[in-house]
């Protein structure tokens, strides 16, 4: 500890602290622009100059290390003189266009100019003009306003992992720009808008639509990935105008992924379903809620009466709120059916019998920082979980060594030390190889149940390297990504992951696909005893489906099978915020339920954290919160226990009113015999399906600005050069892909980041829905 006196206040600070840290601790505000607690120190704006005893000149607080006994004045005459001097320099070339600047009212330069600027300028020459840059569809530029603090540059380099911006030219001609003719394509790009202390970088979708002081700031929680980022939703005239991060060091820190930030645009989409609709005699008609709900209740009742309770089932989106999931499962169980599932994109349910508790990350998110070994199995980590990948990236800088087993090797912008690039069908054997090598490395026997399987596999060099690396660590975790969860041998992969974690005394976790993947398990949105899982419900179509927040062609493991099952069903009730085009064909009732901004709700994130939120705007049109719709439906069906006045009451019931309810139910470990089935059968190549981040849920699919980004480009048929040669196709060629379920045409792309013998074809997209299952064998044929 070091002692420092700041503005007359003596405090103790940690070794290695800067004067800025100490000032923050002492409660003295030092004006600054380039300094940001999450970025490296640049010391280029010079605004934080302070007076230090015995120093001949003012020193920048952000970059000056504290020495014992140091005396600092942050607001002395000398300090303020230096700060005002810097402010004058910052302002001489800064345009006086605050009235038309989007940053006006939330501008650090504007705020500090009030305290440190003069009312008029001594600079009477012409001001600098800097041409704007096209950074893509999300970030707008007014580069003339730039003060060259390089926060955005450092963000792309240090946090997002790729230096997409830089400072070109010298002196007064210095400009912040992307590489020539490039845009900023990071999945975290929106954060540079928050970081920019002036109006040089602003939000393109939000631009000129409201002033910050006109909007109210309401807390919410992101409904997308399993992180559960905390949001500030800004609202004007009952419309969501903008989404900003709500700082939460334990989850999203001060960042948001672009998905969290810009998906709000979909809330105003033309595709919003605003009135209940039912189909009678083949014709769709808009009806009032009473009619619609009676139609649905009667349909369900008559189906149960005529075909038995086992003929109805609920397919619930893991992006739905805890309240909706709870009431939906309660309603199903009230009808007498255990056919409930929320794991819509999963294919292997063999672990269900042995699983207890909800699969979760196995550790708090913030503890990623303390790991020194991480094995990821089957994941598109960077795109599936942008901010979790960011945490791993930071940890990797401090010594975390990351290994990967899976069929994909796209750049995560962080060092992956060891990588076993294997086809999905070989992942199990590869992972078994890691277990085998690890067991030898740490001299612990393999668990009895899987010992025979493991003994029979060969250890590949990659598996050996991964095992050696894991064995040398002291704090390890094994994570199963979305690809592993959707894998046809998911339970067996998990079994081996558990074994690896056991051998190194590490933790094992399932990252989880959606905002409420954990919550859905906790409230029982999974089949109970005798119930059918999602695959089963679609394999042998039911008479009636209650579908909540999911679309047949995008949100299921097999779009073709789902579509067929829905078309065959006597009654499909679709509850959602959007009018799905496909649902017009297969549904019988479409009930408009509120997206996350229009309802109170709760999500349980991947670390098991329960986060409740309130609606921030009124529901659009006739839209109603899902929990209210399900409550009324429960009442109409004559079921007990559907009398709730508030969403809170539903949450209390769902979580047993106990703070430990969720933590007691986290687990999700399986105990299964390892699958001896080959994961893929037939002649051709194995399909590797990513779920592109801007197609993953109904909301992002309809966010126009996100849809214009590179990440939303139409899927390609990606394969390595060997696979392309084997199938006789060239890069850029149009190819026909054929699976057991159907045929689609895509453009081929030679991509060495795909395992040999595989074709990577994204799911959740119109152009690939015809292929059916996300995994399995497909043939490739040039056109």
């Amino acid at each position: 500890m070091l002692e420092i006196e700041i503005d007359g206040k003596v405090i103790q600070v940690n070794d290695g602290s800067t004067v800025m840290d100490a000032a923050t601790q002492a409660g003295s505000y030092v004006p600054h622009f380039c300094y940001h607690k999450k970025l490296s120190i640049a010391a280029n704006c010079r605004m934080c100059l302070v007076q230090v005893e015995k120093a001949p000149k003012p020193l920048p607080a952000c970059a000056t290390p504290v020495t014992n006994g140091m005396k600092v004045w942050t607001h002395s005459e000398a300090a303020v003189k230096a700060q005002k001097g810097v402010m004058e320099f910052l302002l001489i070339n800064h345009p006086l266009d605050c009235p038309i600047c989007d940053q006006g009212g939330e501008c650090q330069l504007q705020d500090l100019a009030v305290g440190y600027g003069d009312s008029s300028s001594r600079y009477q020459e012409e001001k600098r003009v800097v041409l704007n840059k096209n950074l893509g569809s999300l970030v707008a530029t007014d580069m003339t306003r730039c003060i060259n603090c390089t926060r955005c540059v450092r963000f792309t380099q240090e946090i997002a992992g790729e230096m997409e911006l830089g400072q070109a030219f010298r002196g007064e001609h210095a400009e912040i720009m992307p590489f020539v003719e490039k845009t900023v394509d990071s999945e975290l790009s929106g954060n540079i808008i928050d970081l920019c202390p002036v109006g040089a970088l602003t939000s393109k979708p939000f631009r000129f639509s409201a002033r910050t002081w006109e909007m109210s700031r309401r807390k919410s929680v992101s409904p997308h990935d399993s992180l559960g980022s905390n949001l500030i939703v800004q609202v004007k005239h009952d419309t969501v105008k903008r989404v900003l991060p709500l700082e939460n060091e334990a989850i999203n820190e001060c960042w948001l992924s672009d998905k969290d930030r810009f998906a709000y645009e979909a809330l105003g989409s033309d595709e919003r379903l605003t009135k209940p609709m039912i189909r009678q005699g083949g014709e769709w008609q808009e009806v009032d809620w009473q009619t619609a709900l009676e139609f649905v209740a009667n349909g369900l009742k008559s189906t149960v009466r005529e075909q038995g309770a086992q003929s109805v089932g609920a397919l619930l989106s893991p992006h739905a709120t805890l309240e909706e999931l709870h009431l939906a499962q309660k309603l199903m169980r009230g009808l007498g059916s255990e056919n409930i599932d929320s794991r819509l994109r999963q294919a292997d349910f063999s672990g269900d019998a042995s699983r207890s508790g909800a699969p979760w990350l196995g550790m708090p998110i913030a503890e990623v920082a303390s790991l020194n070994r991480l094995l990821v199995v089957g994941s598109f980590l960077r795109k599936d979980h942008p901010l979790l990948a960011q945490r791993v990236r930071q940890a990797a800088k401090r010594g975390l060594r990351v290994s990967y087993v899976g069929p994909n090797a796209e750049d995560w912008l962080l060092p992956v030390r060891n990588r076993a690039l294997v086809a999905p069908g070989k992942m199990l054997a590869e992972l078994a190889g890691v277990v085998k090598a690890l067991s030898l490395a740490v001299s612990k026997p393999v668990s009895g149940a899987i010992a025979d399987y493991v003994a029979a596999v060969a250890i590949s060099p990659a598996a050996q390297a991964i095992a050696d690396d894991l064995a040398a660590g002291s704090s390890a975790a094994v994570w199963l990504g979305n690809l592993a969860a959707q894998h046809p041998q998911a339970a067996s992969l998990q079994q081996l992951a558990q074994e690896i974690a056991r051998l190194v005394d590490g933790r094992v976790g399932i990252i989880g696909e959606a905002a409420n993947s954990v919550g859905a398990h906790v409230v029982g949105a999974v089949p109970g005893a005798g119930g059918r899982n999602v695959a089963d419900m679609l394999d042998k179509p039911l008479a009636a489906y209650l579908v909540l927040g999911a679309e047949a062609e995008f949100d299921f493991a097999d779009a073709v099978k789902t579509r067929t099952a829905f078309e065959q069903a006597g009654l499909v009730v679709s509850l959602g915020a959007f009018r799905s085009v496909a649902a017009l064909d297969y549904a019988d009732a479409m009930l408009p339920i509120a997206p996350f901004t229009e309802t109170a709700g709760t999500f349980v994130n991947c670390e098991g954290r329960v986060q409740s939120f309130y609606g921030v705007v009124k529901p659009l049109g006739e839209t109603r919160p899902g929990w209210k719709v399900l409550r009324v439906l429960g009442n109409l069906l004559g079921l007990d226990g559907f009398d709730f006045a508030k969403a809170d009451e539903v949450c209390v019931e769902a979580l047993g009113g106990s703070p430990e309810f969720v933590s007691e139910r986290l687990g999700g470990l399986v105990d299964v015999p390892l699958s001896s089935q080959p994961a893929a059968e037939g002649k051709g190549f194995e399909r590797v399906a990513d779920i592109p981040l801007y197609f993953a849920d109904p909301l992002v699919r309809r966010a126009p600005s996100l849809q214009k980004t590179k990440d939303a480009a139409a899927p390609l048929a990606r394969m390595n050069a060997a696979t392309a040669a084997a199938s006789g196709v060239a890069d850029g060629q149009l190819v026909r892909l054929r699976s057991a379920a159907g045929v689609v045409s895509l453009t081929a792309r030679v991509d060495e980041a795909v395992a040999d013998g595989c074709v990577r074809v994204a799911g959740a997209h119109q152009s690939t829905a015809g292929l059916g299952p996300l995994s399995g064998v497909i043939s490739v044929e040039g056109l």
Partner: protein, 439 residues
């Protein structure tokens, strides 16, 4: 009145830069002496300390002391860098050292590497003197072939790999930490200090950076002893120094003299003021050094302490001589334009301030000055000085402050009369170049 040449001694053939000529002049004898007599690194540093050698690049920091900052027991790689990025207007000595006597630098660096335990070194050569860079590469090849560089130097365990690296002409890359960034392949922008290069230099490893002339002096210190070198100059100002004399003199060029030589002698060596005109002002240490009026300058001796006492800096030893035909406003305008163009743009006061200074001086020069402009210049320079990451801000400010201080009346005349105090025909005659009608 005479030169006293060490580095430049015997450079009167066209092959003087070749290894064989250098060895014939006694080159590499210092390195051999260290090896043969098994002089310890500590003793080498002690000798350099004793010599009073001060950095020849501009700051004049005692070289031996700088060498002693290198952590002895550091486990990893340590680097040595030579700053041949000679960009200071008026300075052209390092170019000639590298052109005519490159092996003196190689020998000096090898000795320095031996003294500080550096495994690798780089000579960062200014981008606009590409022929010099190419010649240095050739000299390196000669030294390697002869066993003076590389592994097992002169058959010992001592190894030192030296590489030439050329910049692209940015003035800022002569700032030592910008130079390090540039060597690492990054944009040449100064680093914030601390940490200093001795603890965090090239690739984050301990690094010592010295000027070309500094290294070239080292062999003489080892050969003749630190004390002898010190006595060539005066106390605290040891050795000889090469002065690049330019401007209104009869024979502009590099002159190597003992430190402490009177300025008047140096001026006479350079052929005196051209055309018999009166001396008006001298910038004694490169464009960043404050200008001194003739009367002050004529009383100075050419050494660090004397020039410093007179209110300027010996700097890199670039002596810019201006006679009575010089318009000081125009001279300052040119200097300010240089700093405006060469500011790296990293930190605010320099990025914004250098342009402001230039524009105000430009305005005064072009008859659009305002009465408050001199106060404005002083105020802007005060806001730049001491507030920037590196010394470029100070370097841009000091000429402005000193010109205004010593020649304020010329600026006032310009502002008041919209024309120059020195008649245009006198200026034209003095510089033999056309000077615009307003000046």
């Amino acid at each position: 009145m005479s030169t006293h040449e060490l580095i430049f001694a015997g450079l009167d053939g066209d092959r003087t830069w070749r290894l064989e000529d250098y060895v014939a002049r006694g080159g590499y004898s210092a390195l051999k002496k260290i090896i043969n007599e098994k002089i310890s690194p500590e003793d080498v540093i002690a000798e350099v300390k004793k010599s009073g050698l001060r950095g020849r690049g501009g700051a004049g920091f005692p070289t031996g002391l700088k060498w002693s900052f290198m952590p002895r027991a550091f486990p990893g790689a340590k680097y040595l860098a030579c700053n041949s990025d000679e960009g200071e207007p008026g300075t052209f000595k390092d170019r000639d050292i590298l052109r005519y006597n490159p092996h003196s630098v190689i020998e000096g660096m090898t000795i320095a590497a031996y003294a500080m335990g550096c495994e690798r070194g780089y000579n960062y050569i200014h981008g606009e003197i590409f022929d010099v860079y190419q010649r240095f590469e050739e000299a390196l090849a000669e030294a390697r072939a002869a066993g003076f560089l590389g592994q097992n130097i002169l058959g010992t365990d001592f190894g030192f790999e030296l590489f030439a690296h050329h910049g692209y002409g940015a003035y800022i890359c002569g700032e030592e930490t910008a130079l390090l960034e540039s060597i690492e392949g990054k944009k040449g922008q100064p680093r914030f200090k601390p940490p200093f290069p001795a603890s965090y230099g090239i690739y984050g490893k301990p690094t010592t950076i010295n000027n070309t002339e500094t290294f070239a002096s080292v062999p003489f210190i080892i050969n003749d002893g630190g004390e002898h070198f010190l006595n060539l100059g005066k106390p605290n100002n040891g050795g000889t120094k090469i002065f690049s004399v330019s401007g209104h003199v009869g024979r502009p060029g590099n002159y190597e003299v003992r430190l402490g030589t009177p300025f008047s002698e140096l001026l006479a060596l350079a052929g005196g003021v051209r055309g018999g005109r009166r001396l008006k002002a001298v910038i004694p240490g490169g464009s960043s050094a404050p200008v001194l009026p003739a009367d002050i300058m004529m009383d100075c001796t050419m050494d660090y302490d004397s020039i410093s006492k007179a209110g300027s800096m010996l700097g890199s030893g670039a002596v810019i001589v201006m006679d009575e035909s010089t318009c000081m406003v125009k001279a300052l305008e040119r200097l300010s334009y240089f700093y405006f163009e060469e500011s790296c743009g990293q930190c605010t006061p320099c990025r914004e301030g250098t342009g402001w200074l230039y524009r105000v001086v430009h305005r005064i020069e072009h008859g659009k000055g305002r009465p408050e402009d001199l106060d404005l210049l002083n105020s802007v320079t005060a806001n730049i000085m001491g507030r920037t990451i590196c010394a470029l801000g100070d370097a841009a400010s000091m000429p402005v402050q000193s010109f205004v201080k010593h020649f304020g009346s010329e600026f006032e005349y310009h502002i008041e009369h919209k024309q120059c105090l020195v008649p245009a025909d006198v200026q034209n005659e003095g510089s033999k170049i056309y000077v615009g009608p307003t000046c």
